[in-house]
Symmetry: C2
Subunit: 753 residues, 2 copies
């Protein structure tokens, strides 16, 4: 990939017709009529296909996550019956929603013809504010639901009202994390072709979850898993926005079979900014009760997530937010309420953290507000509340989403705070001030706690090759994280052979018919463990052959790639040769095993971020000058890849903290449709990140790994916000992201006046 | 395929650069200099690559067949050390020989640039006559050999000289079958791309022998089988010319890795007629001794095969010819001598029959000559000499090519003669004469005997799919023969399940790492039996799971897709579900077995062809009016496919008997480079063919099959020649093919004068 030899979805355009999607120009409207005739007649156009043309009228995409019954019961969780259409037929709910797909010989002709498709809409009132959407006066967006609430949960423990009533200090606040998202370097794309020889559709898609895409296509079309294979090319980043099933994937699969010609759709950047799944967009009302020493007595958070016109992941986002609101602190009482609102904005999915950054921002900002009110440093209030080795493992009176009671399996969360304070001591402010005399300098901290390695399972397959090496594949698809390296390492270690003996090949649904995918900081834990177990199974499966080849009944040892019975030995190469045509154990069942690794529940990764920022005295622009992360991870399979994940996560978090926002007009018109309006961090916006990895192995999986894919991002928002507060010496309390220089200018002006 | 939905090699051009080959314009010359600079500079040209540029200097293609030591000893077989270069570097030996490969963005630019490649040759004397090539005055074409003899064998049994000395009748003759070949509808083609993700070359080639191509590429390059995968698209006919390894396949594999870009080469028709492997081209000197009643006493044949500038199959062609010269007759004594001569004509390989048609033509024509001399009908002389049920099985004092003593395992060869005489009685001549008053009408017969199902082995793989169905693949590649149907039938029958449950997928060297290929009438026998055995192994492999799932220790029966232990039953679908994630027998070793089927030796297919032809009284043009085939085959897996093979074989045989010839000038210039000069039979040249299949199962393989892929072709030449003789009432004795109307005109004129 680094050498430019990656082969991405768009590199597979050769030989395919090009599809472009007819998308809604209205945020909320009824469709009276779709006139595709003029476009269909244009030169080079193969056809224009509506839902009706493809037999997709009424078809909707199945939800991707549903909480466990215990969790549902414990949180009074309600989920509305969302029905996300593949192609809109009678009503559109957001600008950019796919209505039809146009296929032409090349992209140029396709784009030209797109303009000739005429749609007659009857506009309906649009709703873009989630609070209003849940109010009594809002138009109802989906008639079958009767309201705009897509999900709701509520739970409490430890008598919070009683604690609030008797508390020395109570702080309240409202915190908003605006809508932003992953923006991978590579947009989405799908290529589908019908293989007449094998009578099946072969779909390539830039996804994190090929098996889930396959299952969704089968659910919508009624095809069996033998009727379609889904494969993943090199993927230029996913971060959650590609851990989703999209209308385009289903439409192209159907189209390939319908037309018989190979079809490719490659998203352009504007399309990505309008029509790919977005994220965050939560508002939290918080209240915290503390004693005179700053110990948390009770914690209350009531949040609303704006999921736009729908989300296949709504249950996950709401549950994740609620669970992570409890943080790595001693919280004796809490009351959490969460709701998801449907609006006329783009669909949402997961994005690196998936509710955790929003929860962390609300909790950590409230803690900073409390520290200020009580007169403690932001470090000291955390020190007093963080769980320590004496507390851990620490149970919450709540089941996790899988129904298993929550129990933090960490080492010593306060040690992470000590570590980050050493990595980036507060007095580093002085050096920064000297270096940046035109900036006000501040120091901020944020802890986070993250459930990683979500189950229920993942699959991996290992087979012995004819050269005595091994081919490994796993159900978790890669999007540039280095699965090829990491899973080869795991397999090589488990088999006791050099890494050169192992070839990792990306999963597709033919090679590995069952798999879950890559999201929720789960690949190393779940797929890594499945690879580890598959290696063990392969050794077991080989034993029978070894016994026969050595003519031995007694015990056989295996180590370092060699089977031993007394003084007799056999290598994998010898086994492979014996199994080849003409060998002593010719033919028969393949030395090819699949393992399913299951977890009972998640494991927990904790960390603390520290940031030093400079706020420009005149412009209010925030510059991050120093950054440090200490995190309590598990065993590192490959430390460079873990560090890359952390640093990349910080960079993405800085984007959300300082720059990125999808803005909409009140009428639902997206306003951030180019990189001139949607600001990404530049490389110059990201400082060097110091990382310290505190090893706390976990017994939850056989390779002792904790997830790290999202943890770099989660705490960034609150750490930067805290540093800005500090820089402005109390003239501001940042309560929303992205942090707006204009607000800081006004605060600076107010402080100076 | 019939619906036009086949996807052939040329249909995979999308995304690839186009390769064209710089080919020799000289039949025999030294190369002084190759100037590629001007061509390489031309617009759109990626490069021009000589042997040196690709690291192929001195590289030669490994031979594809070597006889067994017993056969070698019994026949005093000698094989020269042929070295067929991949790309010619210092000497060229035939016009069309590849010297370099030019790669450009498209075919047009490539063809244009090709003309700018300048090669400086020093011409050498060319040899085009095989008899001269073996004479003392011939230039030696390959210095390291010291002569032009590529192969030689000789054997005799039963004191033939003694028999000749005392015989009542001796007939002698010289019979020549001129050079012609397969001419599949689709020419050859290769596409190669380097997959950086998997670090291997992926090669598609229109071949009958993907595994052999893979092995040859590995042998030339030093790559391992993991470095390359060879796959076969739909193939538009092979007939032996694609059962060869070609320089183009090796060059493209190397080129893909060398350049990193996908490259395709699609042979054009002229190129095919000049540079694809040719066949036949044998001259036989025969002598037969008979008693007064026409019983064969001794048989002598001395033949020379002109293999052009080389043949990877020379050992097979010479041995096949020699073995099949013995025919289905009682031959008490014989003396056979065969030689292969190197000349400056195009390379040769196998073509449907591969020595058998040449041998059959020599033997059957000699028998017809003897019949005339003795005054017997052509039917009667055969009736007196054919092996009958009393004779069979019948041993020859000679090992087959695999070293196993030859023993014809037939039923009653004379019954085939009776059958064909019923199918097409001689008195049908009268009706033909009435229908075609402008033609002289004649009746001809030819027997043949064919060794089919050559070993040593073939592979097949069956795996259980998640829907309870099966995926089947076999090492024998298809070229349009219906493997998808036949092997699915075999698997379904062996498993006792409906055919819809079985999906046959074409083999590639990744899916099935070992295989032999499709040639020598071997696929149904070898691959069919391997599929049959794999089905049995799959049932065995499933037993362990069934035992576990049913909780049973005792015996388990399997029939009709259901496992039974007493009253407990389990279907394949239930096993598949149990093995899925969450099932009772989740994960573990795959239900995926490979079987290797071996044969000790060949089985024998015998038949008799009868033809009625009309010779036009003025033009001498031969029209085949009636045609019948009775053959002693084994069990027919699919009778329609067997009949299709026979009828197609007859059509190809008629082409060789009447029309097809590659002519060369004395200087080695090919003269038959378009279809205007190389005449193929038209559909109007092929009459309806009556076929009778006399079932004689063979115990050699578990499915009782005898090969039939080549048998339709073998006897056509002699049957048509005999009918022409008969039509002209002795004015001619056809001794070469294609039969030339001019010769017949002259004979007619002579007979009339």
């Amino acid at each position: 990939m680094l050498a430019g030899r990656g082969r991405f979805l768009a590199d597979r355009a050769a030989g395919a017709h090009h599809a472009v999607f007819v998308r809604s120009s209205e945020a909320h409207a009824r469709i009276h009529h779709i006139d595709t005739a003029a476009a269909a007649r244009m030169l080079g156009v193969l056809g224009v296909y509506t839902a009706a043309d493809l037999g997709l009228t009424g078809a909707s995409i199945p939800a991707l996550t549903t909480p466990n019954p215990e969790f549902t019961a414990a949180t009074n969780c309600f989920l509305a019956d969302q029905r996300l259409p593949v192609l809109a037929a009678d009503t559109v709910h957001y600008i950019g929603q796919p209505i039809a797909v146009l296929v032409a010989e090349d992209r140029y002709r396709a784009e030209d013809a797109l303009e000739a498709v005429a749609i007659d809409y009857a506009p309906l009132p649009a709703v873009t504010d989630p609070v209003a959407a849940l109010g009594p006066d809002s138009p109802v967006l989906f008639g079958h639901l009767g309201g705009n609430e897509a999900a709701r949960l509520e739970f409490s423990f430890g008598a919070p009202e009683h604690a609030f009533a008797g508390a020395e200090h109570v702080v309240e606040g409202t915190y908003r994390m605006n809508r932003h998202g992953a923006i991978p370097l590579e947009g989405r794309g799908v290529r589908a072709a019908f293989d007449a020889q094998r009578q099946r559709v072969e779909l390539w898609t830039s996804t994190q979850i090929p098996h889930t895409v396959r299952d969704a296509i089968c659910a919508v079309t009624g095809w069996t898993p033998q009727d379609i294979t889904v494969a993943v090319p090199d993927v230029g980043g996913g971060f959650g926005t590609k851990a989703n099933v999209y209308a385009e994937e289903i439409a192209l699969a159907v189209l390939a079979r319908h037309t018989g010609v190979p079809v490719i759709w490659v998203e352009d950047r504007q399309e990505h900014l309008i029509a790919s799944a977005q994220a965050r967009d939560q508002v939290h009302h918080t209240r915290m009760a503390l004693d005179a020493d700053g110990h948390i007595l009770a914690w209350e958070d009531s949040f609303i997530a704006d999921i736009g016109a729908g989300s296949l992941w709504v249950a996950g986002i709401v549950a994740n937010t609620a669970i992570h609101l409890l943080g790595p602190y001693r919280v004796p009482a809490a009351h959490i309420t969460g709701r998801a609102a449907l609006t006329n904005k783009t669909l949402t999915a997961q994005y690196r953290g998936a509710g955790r950054p929003e929860a962390t921002f609300a909790l950590e900002r409230t803690l900073d507000a409390a520290a200020r009110k009580i007169g403690l440093s932001t470090e000291e209030i955390r020190r007093r509340n963080l769980l320590t080795a004496a507390d851990l493992p620490y149970s919450r009176p709540l089941p996790y989403r899988d129904g298993v009671p929550i129990s933090f399996d960490g080492g010593d969360y306060r040690a992470c705070l000590d570590s980050v304070s050493n990595l980036l001591p507060r007095n580093e402010i002085e050096r920064c001030a000297a270096e940046h005399p035109d900036h006000l300098i501040g120091y901020g901290l944020s802890s986070y706690l993250e459930a990683t390695g979500r189950g229920p399972h993942e699959t991996a397959r290992i087979r012995l090759l004819s050269d005595g090496g091994f081919e490994v594949t796993a159900g978790a698809a890669a999007a540039g994280q280095g699965h090829e390296t990491v899973f080869a390492q795991v397999a090589a270690e488990a088999l006791g052979v050099p890494m050169e003996c192992v070839r990792y090949v990306p999963a597709d649904t033919e090679r590995l018919p069952e798999g879950v995918g890559t999201f929720a900081s789960r690949s190393a834990i779940l797929a890594g463990s499945a690879v580890h177990e598959a290696a063990g199974k392969l050794v077991d499966a080989a034993m029978e052959h070894v016994r026969r080849l050595l003519g031995v009944d007694g015990p056989i040892d295996y180590a370092h790639g060699v089977f031993r019975a007394g003084r007799r030995m056999l290598s994998w190469l010898e086994i492979a040769r014996a199994r080849a045509v003409g060998g002593d154990a010719e033919s028969g069942a393949a030395l090819d095993v699949t393992a399913v690794f299951r977890v009972e529940t998640v494991t927990w990764t904790m960390g603390v971020h520290a940031a030093i920022v400079g706020v420009h005295r005149r412009t209010g622009l925030v510059k991050v000058l120093r950054y440090a992360v200490s995190h309590e991870g598990g065993r590192e399979i490959n430390p460079r890849i873990v560090e890359g994940q952390i640093v990349g996560g910080v960079a993405q978090g800085l984007g959300g903290a300082l720059f990125e926002q999808w803005r909409y007009s009140d009428a639902g018109q997206p306003l951030s449709t180019t990189f001139a309006a949607y600001h990404l961090p530049l490389s110059t916006d990201v400082p060097r990140v110091a990382v310290e990895h505190l090893h706390v192995d976990t017994p939850v999986n056989p390779i002792g790994v904790r997830g790290a894919g999202e943890s770099g991002t989660i705490a960034v928002y609150a750490a930067v916000a805290g540093a800005v507060d500090d820089a402005l010496c109390g003239a501001v309390h940042v309560d929303s992201t992205p942090i707006r220089p204009g607000d800081l200018c006004r605060a600076l002006a107010g402080a100076a006046s």
